[in-house]
Structures are given as C-alpha cells and as structure tokens.
C-alpha cells in the first residue's frame, strides 16, 4: 500500500516536471542540461564515438544532424559532473545514449527515464540498478565502476511482470525502461480514446438551419398567415 502511494506521488511529481518541461525552451535546456558542468563530452565516453557518426556535439549534449528547426538531443554525457542527484533530464527523452557514470548519485528514480523509449544504452555508477530493473534490459554488465544497461526491452511484451491490457481503442507502446503507455488507435482521440473522427458540425448545422427556415416559412404561409386578428 505504501509502495503504491509513493509510486503515485512520484508519478505525480514526474507529471509536474513533464508539464514544466513544455514551457522550457531549448535555450534553457541547453543551459541547464548541456552546460551542467564545465567542458564538453569526454573523448573516451561512448557518447563521443556515437555522436561522431550520428550528430554534432554541443556542450555535454549530442544533437541530431539535419533537423531544420527543432534541436533533438540524441545523446547526453554527464559523466564526471559531480551530480549528486538527478530529478529529471528535461527534454532529452529522445536520447539514444546517456552517460551518468562517475557521479556520486546515491539513488535514481525509475520515473526519471519515463518516456525515454529510444534509449538503448545507459551508463550509470555501478552501485545503481538499471531503471525498470534487470528485466527491462537485454544486457546489463558492470565494468569497474560503471554499470552499462543495454538494449531496452519493450514493456508491452513483458507478460511476466504485469499482464498489460490497454483499454478499448488504445494500443500499448513502450514508454521508457519498464514503462508503457496506452496511445489511441488511428482515428480515435480524446479522453480515454472514446471519440472517433471529426463531427461535421458546419454541415449538420447548415442543413438543419436551412430546413428549419424552409419548413417555418412554408408553415407560416399555409397556416399563420391566415390568422384573423379579431
């Protein structure tokens, strides 16, 4: 029960952060996340070798090439940054690789990585467990002081942990290590995916108005016009 409460309160916390996220523009994100500490991505980090082929480096972040106006973070190297605790990772949920090793982080909430569905490689200090537990990753190995979580598993296919049945009109999709989300099927939208298609408002109102005018005037001519004012 208590676990439930903590989970839900943490969840709420994450939601607030996510909402906050929306209002944070990319400049702030750059400043807060990519300039978290001095310097840039270390050359011996796996993020560096990843970024050379896939994008360009800016501060501690790796951005995706040839994206027109939106900066998409695809890699993040915060290793050796003297971070003691991580609350959230702003809008780096598009990242494929994140390095948090060599930091004095004491514990790390699973909810930090909620929504990080692209994440395939995560480097953590060795005393921390992989988010979502061992079962959420293809391979987990410890190299000296670094724990490497590799190959995120799809939470929707893990029937062992919890039988995941999304409600009607929605489909389960991965939502970060150990997380899933129920997104509406094609054509469905709105609260609980209950609505389908767009109501032809103008058409319906137009037809109804026109027929009301016609019927009213016909009836007026045949009926009320004959009213005798006595």
């Amino acid at each position: 029960m208590t676990a439930n409460v903590t989970v839900s309160s943490m969840y709420l916390f994450t939601v607030l952060l996510l909402l906050f996220n929306v209002y944070v523009n990319s400049q702030d994100t750059d400043a807060q996340l990519c300039q978290m500490c001095e310097g840039t991505i270390r050359h011996d980090s796996p993020v560096w070798s990843f970024c050379i082929t896939k994008g360009y480096v800016k501060g501690h972040c790796c951005f995706k090439n040839n994206t027109s106006d939106v900066d998409t973070i695809i890699g993040l190297d915060l290793s050796n940054c003297s971070i003691s605790h991580v609350e959230h990772l702003y809008n780096s949920s598009t990242a494929l690789i994140i390095d948090l090793s060599n930091n004095p982080i004491s514990n790390l909430s699973d909810y930090v990585f909620q929504g990080f569905s692209q994440l395939t490689q995560l480097l953590l200090p060795s005393k921390l467990e992989c988010p979502g537990g061992r079962a959420s990753w293809e391979k987990v190995e410890v190299k000296s002081i670094t724990r490497i979580c590799e190959g995120q598993k799809n939470a929707c296919n893990q029937t062992v942990q919890m039988p995941l049945v999304c409600p009607e009109n929605s489909l389960c999709s991965p939502y970060g290590p150990g997380f899933f989300e129920c997104s509406c099927l094609n054509n469905f939208h709105g609260y609980k995916c209950m609505r389908q298609g767009e109501f032809p408002l103008v058409k319906v109102l137009g037809i109804l108005t026109a027929s009301t005018v016609v019927v009213s005037s016909v009836l007026w001519f045949t009926q009320r016009r004959k009213v005798k004012n006595t």
């Binding site: 939601v15 919890m162 409600p167 989300e181 709105g190 109501f199 019927v215 009836l219 009926q223 005798k228």
Partner: protein
C-alpha cells in the same frame, strides 16, 4: 359520425406530435449516452491482481476525476433521473396553469427552445469547456425538468382544441404514439453520432429540438378559432357530432390574458355580441372538477407500472433470462408497439361506445391477468414477445388514453359550461400526479427487487393495476348508468 378534417388539422396533428417526439428523443438520448458520460467523468481504473495501475499518458486516462469510479457515476446519474422526474412532476402542475393563461404557442415554443438550450449547456458546453461540476449538473437538470413539463399540457390542449370529442379517442390514441416514436428516434440519433463523442449526441438532439421550437413558433395554429374555422357556415364544414359544443374551442389565442385593456378597448370598438372571454380556471378549482381526482390517482398507479416497464424491462430480461442486452432492448420494443396499438384500438372502441371508463376498466382487469401470465413467461423470446405486446396493449393502451384523450375530455367537460380555460391545467394535474407515482415507483421497484425478488415486483404491479381499477369504479358506475339511460331512451323513442 366522423367530423371532416382540413389540412390544418393534419398539420396540427403533425406539429404537436413531433414536438413531443423531439422532447422524448432528447430524454432517450440522455439514457443512451449514460455509459459514455460516466466514462468521461471518471479516471480509468486498470485493476490487475488487486493493485491499481495508472495509465500513461495521464491526460488521456486519468485527467477527469469527478467521480472515483463508474459505480459512483452511475449512482449520480440515477439521482439525476430522480431529480428530473420530480421537477418534471412539480413543473406539470405549474405549467398547465401557465398554459391556460398565456398563448399556448408561446409557452410551447419557449418550453422546447428553453429545454434545448439547457440540454446543450448540460451535455455539450460543459464538455467543450471541460467544466464538470456536480451542482451545475443538478441545477441544469432541475431547470430542464421544469421546462420540459410545459410541453405535454400544451400539446394536449392544442390537440383538444382541434379534435372534438367524437373522434378524439382514436385520434389521440394514434397521436400518443409520439412518446414511443420519440424513443426510437432518440435511440437512432444517439447511436449514429455517439462515436464523435457524447457531447455531439446532446448537440444534435438539442439543436433539432430548438429547430422544432422555431417551427412551432412560426407554423402552429393553437385553435381552429384563430383562422375562423369554427364558423362552420363559412368553411362549409359541419361536423356531425352528438355533442357539437365540444367541437368549439375552449382556448382562445388572442393574448387576451396578456393585454386586458387592449381587448376591452377592442370590444368597445367592434360592439360585438356580448360573448364572454373564457377565463382560466384556478388550480384547486380544476382539481375539484368531476373526474379529475379519480383519473389522476388511477393514472398515478398506472404510470408507475408503465414507466417501470419502460425503465426496468431490458434489465429484467437480461438478468432473468440471460439474454444479451441488444436482444433485450429489441424485445422490449414490443411493449411500446402493444401500447400504441392498444391506445388506438381502445380509443376507437371508446369513441364508438361514447364512454371511456368501461373500456379502461375491462382493459385493466385483463391486464392484471396478463401480468400474471407475463411473470410466468417461459424462456422463449417469441412467447415472451407476444406476452409483452399483450401486456403493452392492456396497460400502455389505457395509460396513453388517460394521459391524452381523457385529459382532453376532462378539461372540456360540460361542468365548465365553455366559460373557462381548463384544458392545460387539467392535463398538467393528471400527468403531474402520474409522474409523482412514476418517480416514487422507480425507487419502490428497485427496493422490492433487491429485498424480495422479481416475482414480488410483478405482484406489486398487479396490485397497482388493481388500485387504478378501484379509482375508476365510481366513474364506471356513473357512465354505465348513463349508458343504460341512453339505451332506454332510444328504445322508448322507437
């Protein structure tokens, strides 16, 4: 025997018919979208192995929490139904009185358009604004009940003005199919737009109802007097009726009540024959009219049974026989069909006989038998449907007749000497008393069912039907007496 009808009669029939059809369609819409509304008001509860999971994204699955779960929402919807029925019953008493004092056309249009706007705010606007509030819903539904209650007394009064007593039973029997037609239309409208969201079901029915109010405003003639039709020599129409005074309209539509000075000036100008303007009857005066109280009480018992069938039948069928909800819904239509045919046929018989109480009494006595039969129905849809249609014929028929034809008879009886407007007031009293019975019955049926089981519910129905027969007995004796006197007189003449 049959009066000649003009196309004005036909248009009046259709306009009043469809006014009530639209009203009942929007009521049915509300009961058909209940599942969607309660889903909208609650967060989704994904329970597995005893623990609740929260679903992502939260805005889609957990955003609304007006009620914790579907059970609470269903309870609230049930409470809304009771609120509606109660304010509807109270409103009927009031709006009949109003209908007799103001122009019936204005009151009818106002009721239709006003309740359409209320439904729009209730179902569509709150959803568009994502504003969900229990108190707002309650207040809106009370207003809706009051506004909707204006419609029935007005349409019955208008129909009573146009259709004389001789053919009234048959015409009103046919006409009172409007509630059932409204149910079918409402179910159709709701099911065809529900996929866009429940707010559009409300939008469509309320806009159509508003349009109906506009059409009524521009097209309805509240009495033949408005176009001088009661002047039989002018139009060449002379209804051959035994009591031709009932053909004359009681309700005038000259806003005389609104502008007393105006009409008095006009009277001075024209120097007409001193025809007294009909004055509206007082509420208690109407209550004391002969026949009003017995028929009101009889209707209270009968509407209880009738509405219980309307509300509980699909539930009973799927619970008791294990039939699918769709099958149960489809089968329950036969009760409505029986009611329409019953109202028309019994109305016709009562027209030919010239008396209504004997027809009612015989039908209700038979109904008690058919209720016994129905409670022992075998698990066979064909047999059950046939029994259901018979029960509808015997219960729905008299129920339709009291609420329409007999209300019109009572509001234009000889005791009034054509000097008072009583039609809408009397209709309001009869239907209002009936609605109180129906509202109380909904509670009693669920209570009896949960404590004593379905068989006792049927015994309760049989007792209630018996009570309505008891209330009619004094009238029955009087009518049979006068029937015998008529026959004796006729034999003496020959």
């Amino acid at each position: 025997m049959w009066p000649l009808y003009t196309y004005h009669h036909l248009l009046t029939f259709l306009l009043t018919f469809f006014s009530y059809v639209l009203l009942h369609a929007s009521r049915k819409t509300f009961s058909n979208v209940k599942v969607s509304i309660s889903a909208q008001w609650t967060p989704s509860a994904l329970q597995q192995n005893g623990t609740a999971f929260t679903l992502s994204p939260t805005e889609t699955w957990e955003g609304n929490a007006l009620f914790a779960d579907m059970g609470e929402a269903t309870l609230f919807l049930g409470a809304l139904d009771s609120i509606f029925l109660f304010s509807y019953a109270v409103g009927l008493y009031v709006s009949g009185v109003i209908g007799d004092r103001f122009n019936l056309r204005y009151v009818l249009s106002f009721g239709l358009c006003g309740s359409a706007i209320t439904e729009f705010v209730f179902g569509t606007l709150t959803e568009w604004l994502h504003f969900y509030n229990v108190y707002l819903y309650c207040v809106l539904w009370v207003i809706n009940g009051l506004l909707q209650s204006t419609v029935w007394p007005c349409v019955v009064a208008i129909m009573g003005n146009w259709f004389g007593k001789s053919g009234r039973g048959f015409v009103f029997g046919l006409w009172s199919a409007c509630a059932s037609v409204g149910n079918i239309l409402g179910a159709f409208l709701a099911s065809s737009v529900l996929k866009y969201g429940y707010e559009y079901a409300f939008l469509v029915t309320s806009v159509v109802q508003f349009a109906g109010g506009v059409v009524v405003f521009f097209g309805l003639l509240t009495s033949p007097k408005e176009i001088g039709l009661n002047d039989y020599f002018e139009t060449g129409l002379r209804p051959v009726t035994r009591d031709s005074d009932s053909q004359r309209p009681l309700m005038s539509d000259e806003e005389d009540e609104l502008t007393d000075e105006y009409s008095s000036i006009q009277q001075q100008d024209e120097e007409p024959q001193p025809q007294p303007q009909p004055r509206a009857i007082g509420f208690f005066q109407a209550f004391c009219l002969p026949g009003v109280l017995p028929y009101s009480l009889a209707y209270a018992c009968l509407k209880l049974v009738n509405y219980s069938f309307f509300f509980w039948l699909p539930f009973y069928l799927s619970k008791n026989f294990g039939w699918k909800e769709v099958e149960a819904d489809r089968l329950s239509v036969w009760y409505d069909v029986g009611g329409i045919i019953g109202g028309t046929v019994q109305g016709l018989i009562s027209d030919l006989l010239g008396k209504r109480a004997p027809v009612l009494a015989i039908s209700l006595l038979l109904a008690m038998g058919s209720l016994v039969g129905y409670s022992h129905s075998p698990n066979n849809q064909l047999v059950n449907g046939a029994l259901l249609a018979t029960t509808g014929f015997l219960i729905g028929g008299p129920s339709n007749m009291i609420s329409s034809a007999i209300s019109a008879d009572l509001g234009r009886q000889e005791a009034l000497h054509n000097s008072q407007q009583a039609l809408a007031t009397v209709t309001g009293i009869v239907d209002g008393t009936g609605s109180i019975g129906a509202a109380g019955g909904q509670y009693l049926v669920s209570l009896i069912e949960s404590k004593l089981g379905w068989m006792c519910v049927f015994y309760f129905f049989i007792i209630m039907t018996g009570c309505s027969v008891l209330f009619i007995i004094p009238l029955l004796f009087r009518e049979i007496q006068s029937l015998c006197r008529d026959r004796q007189a006729r034999t003496l003449q020959l």
